[in-house]
């Protein structure tokens, strides 16, 4: 079955979507990422969508669901590289991707993941 590769980089997972995803492929990515986060104990998930020339409501919802599931599994998701035309279209479509953290590129996305994990840590200690 067709799959989108997931790379492990230390505590984080990196996904670069380079194909025009049909719905099943997007669902497979959601399942695969969920399993990998759980198996590896990942803290961050970075999804690079710079190669995507459109994000419709299904793909948008799947990305939002991935971020929500990752959050429940104690991982931070950052979406990077959204093209301007895609961003304009998404908002006009009515999808604002609230709850999904975004960054302009991979480097800024990794920095955001590191910061998010660092700011969460003191809370965890205080509560524990």
């Amino acid at each position: 079955m067709e799959r989108i590769p997931i790379l492990k980089m230390g505590d984080n997972l990196l996904v670069t979507i380079q194909v025009d995803m049909h719905d099943r492929l997007a669902m497979n990515l959601q399942d695969d990422l969920t399993n990998r986060i759980s198996a590896e104990g990942s803290r961050g998930v970075l999804i690079d969508i710079s190669a995507l020339d459109m994000v419709d409501s299904f793909i948008g919802r799947t990305l939002g669901d991935i971020a929500a599931i990752a959050s429940v599994l104690d991982a931070v998701t950052v979406l990077v590289g959204m093209r301007p035309a895609v961003a304009i279209t998404l908002v006009e479509l009515g999808l604002s991707l609230t709850g999904v953290r975004t960054a302009l590129d991979v480097e800024k996305g990794m920095a955001l993941i590191r910061r998010s994990i660092a700011t969460e840590a003191p809370d965890a200690l205080a509560e524990g």
Partner: protein
């Protein structure tokens, strides 16, 4: 006025939805639509093609190039012979969904295109015709 021969593509599977997106992107790019307009049309096509596959039980999309006075337009017509939509007004509202989606397919694609026409009758199927002008 209709220019060029229309393309008709089947819509039966997830892969057909992707093929329809590519066909719309190709046509829109060749006609010289801006990148933002192309993206809006491809996204609307994806929403409507998915509706045809999921809710209409499959059907087809017709892609046509129009000329009206000096303006060029791209018209997409999605047709199925599925169960139809009992209440079209309701289905056009943001957030209306029969269960699996976000309910942005119809209302969202209406915002992304210049013209939007829908005809549906229970038991007879649904026909959605959208146009964007350059």
């Amino acid at each position: 006025m209709l220019l060029q021969k229309a393309d008709v593509l089947p819509l039966r599977s997830d892969e057909d939805v992707v093929r329809a997106r590519h066909a719309v992107r190709d046509r829109a790019a060749k006609l010289g639509f801006s990148l933002i307009d192309q993206t809006k049309m491809v996204t609307a096509a994806s929403e409507l093609a998915r509706n045809t596959v999921l809710h209409g039980g499959g059907g087809e999309v017709t892609i046509e190039v129009l000329r009206h006075d000096e303006r060029i337009g791209l018209r997409l017509t999605f047709e199925d012979h599925g169960p139809g939509i009992p209440d079209v007004e309701l289905a056009l509202r943001d957030g209306y969904s029969t269960g699996t989606g976000l309910g942005l397919g119809l209302s969202g694609s209406r915002r992304l295109m210049n013209e939007f026409e829908i005809r549906s009758a229970p038991g007879e199927g649904t026909r959605v015709c959208v146009t964007r002008w350059k």
